[in-house]
């Protein structure tokens, strides 16, 4: 990789920004640094949103490498963009969801990400002359269309298989329960108009929904103490499986 990754820039910004994490200072510092990165002015709006996300994404990666995470950040930002209809996969922290899940429920996809991300960037450089993260949004989209339709070369399977995997996981990370590390601030649920996890919906509440009077409650399933956390249940189940 020859380009300066945004994560490297983030690290620099963090040094400048001292101990502050996720602060406005860091976000501004990052955005300033971003100006020197090889992104065209057409992407200014896009990266204004990304800068905000990067400030929050400074915690350690759990499974992806920094290079893979940069690339995945850029991909998910095009799949569900930050635009006139509001926050997208970047603000939802879909890539963070994927990074975390690749060490758990999505572990069987880890190798597919390693190979697929590498192939995607190689295809970007060979067909468009630049690493994917250095392309304009329009060119990034055209690369992704090639990957989606299976036209992109150099993938272990048809590139469309990798595209479908990433799109599926990006949707999970944008619209899934925030407990799993995505859908930050419920931006995904607000986008589709989901009024939130409830454990009881009375007939009166259904009627309020039908009159557009039901306010989103912004609750995760696990904000309700009555439920055992999914991970705990999973480990108990797998211990039960051993002899059976």
């Amino acid at each position: 990789m020859t380009f300066i990754s945004r994560r490297d820039l983030l690290k620099r910004a963090a040094v400048v920004g001292a101990a502050a994490t996720a602060s406005a200072d860091v976000a501004r510092a990052f955005q300033a640094s971003d100006d020197v990165a090889p992104h065209g002015p057409a992407e200014a709006g896009h990266y204004a949103g990304a800068a905000h996300e990067m400030a929050a994404a400074r915690e350690p990666l759990e499974n992806l490498t920094a290079t893979e995470a940069d690339l995945l950040d850029a991909i998910v930002a095009r799949l569900i963009p930050t635009d006139a209809t509001g926050p997208g996969a970047t603000e939802a922290r879909a890539a963070h969801y994927i990074d975390r899940a690749l060490g758990g429920a999505l572990a069987s996809s880890r190798q597919a990400y390693t190979a697929g991300l590498e192939a995607l960037d190689r295809y970007s450089r060979s067909s468009r002359g630049k690493p994917f993260t250095a392309l304009s949004a329009t060119d990034q989209d055209s690369v992704l269309i090639d990957v989606e339709t299976g036209a992109a070369t150099g993938f272990p399977e048809r590139s469309s298989v990798f595209f479908a995997l990433v799109l599926n996981h990006t949707q999970q990370g944008t619209f899934g329960d925030p407990y799993y590390g995505g859908n930050a601030n419920f931006v995904g649920w607000d986008l589709v108009g989901y009024p939130g996890v409830r454990t009881m919906v009375t007939a009166a509440e259904q009627q309020r929904l039908e009159k557009h009077e039901l306010t989103p409650n912004h609750k995760s399933a696990y904000d309700y103490e009555s439920f055992t956390k999914a991970t705990a249940s999973l480990s108990r189940q797998s211990s039960g499986r051993e002899g059976a």
């Binding site: 989606e148 949707q171 619209f175 439920f227 059976a244």
Partner: protein, 570 residues
């Protein structure tokens, strides 16, 4: 060497929908029953309203015994085996799949018991599709009615009766067979959208009605009413309002003191003596092997596992597998044509975020033989079911009706506007058994203990595909009448694959040459072996099988109680 346990009266293999019901009349009669269940106990604390876990990660099936033995499948004997599904459609647990199923609890219609004779009578013998092995059931709906009634009250079913003792109630299904009394609970509530769909059906002369559900519409048997929270589909109930056998018949059977539940018991084979009499079952728990002797065994796992366990249980008396000297085990297999769906887009929100898939409006006008097939080139039909079920990841993954790509800004704007504006109908259609659709053991793929998994060789034939196209026309008409602005149809059917509505393999009928089981669900060849579940059914009808499997299970158990001395000694 397996540890030999103390003898018992009855072993039930699998405490799910069918085995969990059969345990109750047996235990109430004082027979000593041991229920061997491959899963464990799940409780309401396990059932978080979590779409990612339930609907995308397949918890808890993904980590269970069943998932290590997902059947392989292929369309026909000359086609390649398709990739195996990642997650088994059914679950291991005390209560089985009734914990997380949709809980639609239908009785079959009278025609479903007499497909052959009624088709011949009304249209002539030539109308039975070529290659089909369909037979009339050994009895009619009236024989099963008391058991349907028993289960509806013991388990708890909500619904609107349509035909009580011959008196048609227009609020219910006018095509249902006679029932002796109403459901124990009124139907689940409606919504603005469901009411709109019902009005649209009436305006074109059809007869809409709310479907039956094993879900409490009001408190029942000291358990809560439904909370309509929207996570019932592949999720267990957090207030025990879904009437799984784990919260109804199984604890009631335990309370008699005559049912012992053995969780995490992985049954491997059923044993017979030199004379071919069933002597007990072998199972493994935590790596330890046990032999459980029993006077009678009721095999009540799922359709695929019922066939597999019989085929794996080979002996001198049954060299081709238990109860398979007539080579009928695995035959007459079919699964509901649940595909061939229709999805509609409306120009207004449907407010479907809260509710459950058993809450809906049905039309039965185009099911079974409820309409004249004289000018048509198929028999049977489909039940049209419009229901309430939406969660955010699924909503975002909605059909885009060819209007936008599947990602990017245009897609995002589309789902922002339309995420709550689509509805997909569930169209269950008659599927028949055929000569060349069957189950057997896979020659290559094995489970972790080294036993071959089940292999499905089956595809939908002309009759099923014609029904599919016909029913899609009807569904589109209904949606358009209600104001739909776009319609998408799924393909009408190819390979059957692995299904949640799998039938046959151990069919019930008087003729031992073509059926594994007699009319009471006991083996023609092994008199102290009974089989429970939809694997005994010879026709599918156009509606969910569970209540019928449960009514049959109760009937088999009652037959065993009444004939205990005779059956245990044979």
């Amino acid at each position: 060497m397996a540890t030999k346990l103390k003898d018992t009266d009855v072993v039930i293999i699998g405490l799910g929908a069918a085995g969990g019901v059969a345990a109750l009349p047996l235990a109430q009669a004082g027979l000593e029953v041991i229920g061997l269940e491959a899963g464990g106990w799940l409780t309401r604390r396990d059932f978080a309203p979590d779409e990612l876990r339930n609907n995308f990660r397949g918890w808890p099936q993904a980590v269970q015994k069943a998932n290590q033995e997902v059947p392989t499948s292929r369309a026909n004997a000359s086609s390649p085996t398709t990739p195996r599904a990642a997650i088994h459609p059914m679950q291991n647990a005390v209560g089985g799949t009734t914990l997380h199923y949709w809980a639609q609890s239908w009785r079959l219609n009278p025609w479903d018991f007499k497909v052959v004779s009624e088709t011949k009578r009304r249209y002539g013998a030539s109308r039975i599709p070529a290659g089909s092995t369909v037979e009339d059931w050994p009895f009619g709906l009236e024989e099963l009615e008391p058991y349907y009634d028993k289960v509806e009250y013991e388990v708890g079913v909500s619904g609107q009766a349509g035909n009580i003792n011959g008196k048609i109630d227009p609020r219910g299904n006018p095509f249902e067979g006679q029932r002796k009394r109403a459901y124990p609970m009124p139907a689940l509530r409606g919504t603005e959208f469901l009411d709109k769909m019902a009005s649209a059906a009436r305006s074109i002369g059809w007869h809409p009605f709310p479907g039956p559900a094993a879900v409490n519409s009001r408190p029942y048997q000291n358990r809560s009413a439904c909370m309509y929270h929207g996570f019932c589909n592949r999720g267990g109930c957090h207030v025990d309002a879904k009437n799984s056998t784990a919260v109804t018949t199984i604890p009631r059977a335990q309370a008699t003191g005559h049912l012992k539940v053995v969780p995490r018991a992985h049954v491997t084979t059923i044993e017979v003596d030199g004379g071919g009499r069933m002597t007990g079952v072998n199972y493994v728990t935590d790596g330890v092997e046990y032999f459980q002797p029993a006077k009678v065994v009721l095999l009540a796992s799922y359709t695929y596992e019922n066939t597999r366990l019989l085929l794996l249980s080979k002996s001198k008396a049954f060299p081709n597998g238990l109860s398979n000297n007539h080579k009928q085990v695995g035959r007459h297999y079919f699964s509901h044509n649940q595909g061939a769906g229709v999805t509609a887009l409306f120009p207004f929100n449907l407010n479907s975020w809260y509710g459950l898939p058993a809450q809906g409006v049905a039309v039965d006008n185009w099911a079974d033989d409820n309409f004249d097939h004289s000018g048509l080139d198929f028999i049977g039909g489909g039940n049209l079911w419009v229901y309430v079920d939406r969660r955010p990841i699924g909503a975002a993954g909605m059909n885009t009706f060819g209007r936008v790509p599947n990602w990017g800004s245009a897609w995002k704007a589309f789902i922002k506007e339309n995420a709550d504006r689509s509805n997909g109908a569930y169209l269950q259609k008659t599927t028949l058994p055929y000569e060349d659709n069957f189950l057997d053991l896979d020659p290559v793929v094995k489970d972790p203990l080294g036993y071959p998994v089940c292999r499905v060789t089956a595809e939908y034939k002309d009759n099923e595909r014609k029904i599919g196209a016909f029913i899609q026309d009807k569904m589109e008409q209904w949606y358009r009448e209600a104001g739909a602005v776009a319609i998408q149809r799924a393909p009408v059917g190819g390979p059957m694959g692995v299904s949640t509505h799998a039938y046959g393999g151990t069919r019930m009928g008087d003729n031992a040459e073509t059926n594994v089981l007699n009319r009471f669900g006991f083996s023609h060849e092994v008199p102290n072996l009974g089989v429970l579940g939809a694997s005994v059914m010879g026709t599918s009808g156009a509606r969910n099988p569970t209540l019928t499997a449960q009514a049959l299970a109760w009937r088999t158990a009652e037959h065993l109680v009444k004939n205990w001395n005779k059956i245990r000694q044979t």
